[in-house]
């Protein structure tokens, strides 16, 4: 428990995952997934795995978000289920 930060970050992670599941607007859901990736990068950082945190921040919060948004531009913006 370095700095005791893992528990609040874990709760934030859970909250962002639930929000991304519940959102009907898929663009907002993609952005929330980027938030999820960034919080998990912070958790890796707190745990001391700096390289893994770096990869997660760049790939998860950057590239994956861009690819999700590009796919959303080609399909529907709203979830139908």
């Amino acid at each position: 428990m370095v700095l005791g930060l893992e528990t609040p970050l874990g709760l934030l992670l859970l909250a962002s995952a639930l929000i991304a599941l519940r959102l009907r607007n898929l663009l907002a859901a993609a952005v929330t997934l980027s938030v999820f990736s960034f919080i998990s990068a912070l958790i890796y950082l707190v745990m001391g795995a700096v390289d893994v945190a770096f990869t997660e921040a760049v790939v998860g919060a950057g590239i994956t978000g861009v690819l999700f948004i590009v796919v959303l531009f080609h399909t529907s913006r709203r979830s139908i289920d």
Binding site: M1, V2, M47, G48, D51
Partner: protein, 97 residues
């Protein structure tokens, strides 16, 4: 069905929480991955890397040395996987001119 899956999820989460109480702490020198010998008596790789990485590759970052030197062949496979993903996207999605 929804209730059953919720109960299964809660049980699985409780199991994971219970298991995580047995993990060693951060930077614990007595943790299983930091010992010289595993409980079965065989030498542990991490101790060798921590001791020799700086002298073998003149690089203070042990992660880089493990990724690119000790486990260089793995990284080659990883690069090939990434390249294959790009080639598959090229073959499936790109229109022929």
């Amino acid at each position: 069905m929804r209730k059953i899956s919720l109960v299964a999820l809660a049980l699985f989460g409780a199991l994971l929480l219970y298991a995580s109480s047995g993990l060693p702490g951060h930077g614990d020198p007595d943790g299983a991955s930091h010992r010289q010998q595993s409980p079965a008596g065989s030498p542990v790789a991490a101790a060798h890397y921590i001791r020799h990485a700086q002298g073998d590759a003149a690089s203070p970052n042990i992660v880089t040395v493990v990724l690119a030197d000790y486990r260089g062949f793995d990284t080659l496979g990883e690069t090939i996987v990434v390249l294959t993903a790009g080639l598959v996207c090229y073959l499936i999605l790109r229109r022929s001119p």
